[in-house]
Chain length 281, copies 2
């Protein structure tokens, strides 16, 4: 759903994500369902709908879209406050609500009432948690691309792989979403010539995880950055990938190929393999 | 839900997030509902459950938790494949499923059948989209903390604010989740002495967005980084925050306080104010 690439007259219908908080949960909820249909949706996030007047404004926008499209919009809501939700429900949309659909059953199962806490999924629950997350991002930035060996023993995971195989985005993603301290270390031609890992790494073997990539894809990625360079040539990419994979195999490092994976899939696979618990969320 | 801080005997119950993809949607779905209850849940993500044999293994783990806890676990599932879901449903858990709950109604509304696409929310839908996202992350890293003025006209947003007010995590978050090119530029004592914005900035005024923070919180954050320094002193923090806010007011820059906000809330607020569409997801 590359929104900005679709001219607005190509949309068949509008989808709204309505939330009393950031709208991240509402959007995730809606995306999961919309991705099951081959339809182009104009997608509108309505965050911070936490009062009756904001709910009236949300309803107005939903009605407006219904009129323009000639079809009622699909609405995915995580509103918690019953009064606010009731106002939004008056709009001319097909309303899907997470809270009223599942909370009553959970109340019965748990034998307690829900707290009706608003926007709880993506607020600061705890300053200590927040600090840990910021610290993880700072750590991962400071230990990007082998920039510093200081503090490597504090890393939760050390990613290794050839230049441009996806180490940096994966490190930042895991730091950001899971509060994990991720260092990443490039495997470079000097390492292949020497035939073993950078000397600072082996003492950290249990934390090492490798990323690899197909030589064709690497060639494409590097060529965008440094067109026509030796660094980007298919021969160089083939050599580096072969050597890196041989080195990781020899050193017993687990690795995965990033070629057809999204950052989220790479991250989820690493977490599953390393069996590490998230430190924040 | 600071998982690692709760000793395992303090958990009252287990929650599973089961998915045929990364598990991000299942986890978001479950968190939104669990956050409505004052109960400590042990949380287990089971990603890539995309076969009957993996569903059997998932069911085994759910049953094991039921036995250990003496209470059936809560299960939040985004499984799409009906056969795989049917196996998981045999487990001794309270099963909540996104797809069967909402897809039939949507099929009726849209007048078409769902595609039954698996793990579609967080895969690479499109190489161009993927490249745009990586490019946004690289841009934001290269333009962190005023590191480069080159390419500033390409930025979607330029964040300004005093050192340690949250510019870097916010920039990386927006690049990562929305494919936006975010530069950030520190406001420093030299700018306050001169009384106006760094000279490279005003030509970009429509893209500028300010972050501020309470002096007390800034003092605490800086003190963790450079304990006892002048930089971290409450007097210095007070001066910088006052001067930065006065400067932003004078220059007509919109700004928000990050003091009690999560990265997600800061990002959602900026997007709402700037009215920019996401470029990837």
């Amino acid at each position: 759903m590359p929104l900005t690439l679709v001219p607005s007259n190509r949309y068949e219908r509008t989808a709204f994500f309505v939330s009393d908080g950031t709208g991240i949960t509402a959007e995730t909820f809606g995306h999961a369902l919309l991705s099951q249909f081959d339809v182009k949706f104009r997608q509108v996030r309505l965050p911070f709908v936490d009062s009756v007047s904001k709910a009236l404004e949300a309803a107005r926008r939903i009605n407006e879209a219904a009129e323009r499209d000639g079809k009622r919009p699909l609405v995915f809501s995580t509103l918690v406050n019953a009064e606010v939700a009731a106002v939004m429900r008056q709009a001319n949309g097909m309303i899907h609500e997470l809270i009223p659909t599942f909370v009553p059953g959970l109340e019965q199962e748990l034998g307690i009432k829900s707290t009706h806490g608003i926007g709880r999924s993506h607020t600061i629950a705890d300053t200590e948690e927040y600090n840990r997350r910021i610290e993880a991002i700072n750590f991962s930035l400071a230990h990007d691309d082998g920039e510093s060996n200081k503090g490597l023993p504090d890393a939760d995971v050390i990613l290794v792989g050839v230049s441009r195989c996806g180490k940096t985005p994966t490190s930042l993603y895991l730091a950001m979403t899971h509060g994990l301290k991720i260092a990443n270390y490039p495997l470079i031609p000097e390492d292949f010539a020497r035939g073993n890992l950078p000397s600072v790494l082996p003492r950290q073997r249990e934390k090492l995880f490798g990323l690899s990539i197909s030589p064709d894809r690497l060639h494409q990625v590097r060529n965008e950055r440094r067109p026509g360079s030796k660094y980007a040539s298919i021969e160089q990419c083939r050599m580096e990938v072969n050597e890196a994979e041989a080195l990781m195999r020899r050193e017993g490092i687990r690795w995965l190929s990033t070629t057809t994976k999204s950052i989220e899939e790479i991250a989820a696979t690493i977490l599953q393999e390393i069996r590490i618990e998230r430190k924040s969320f």
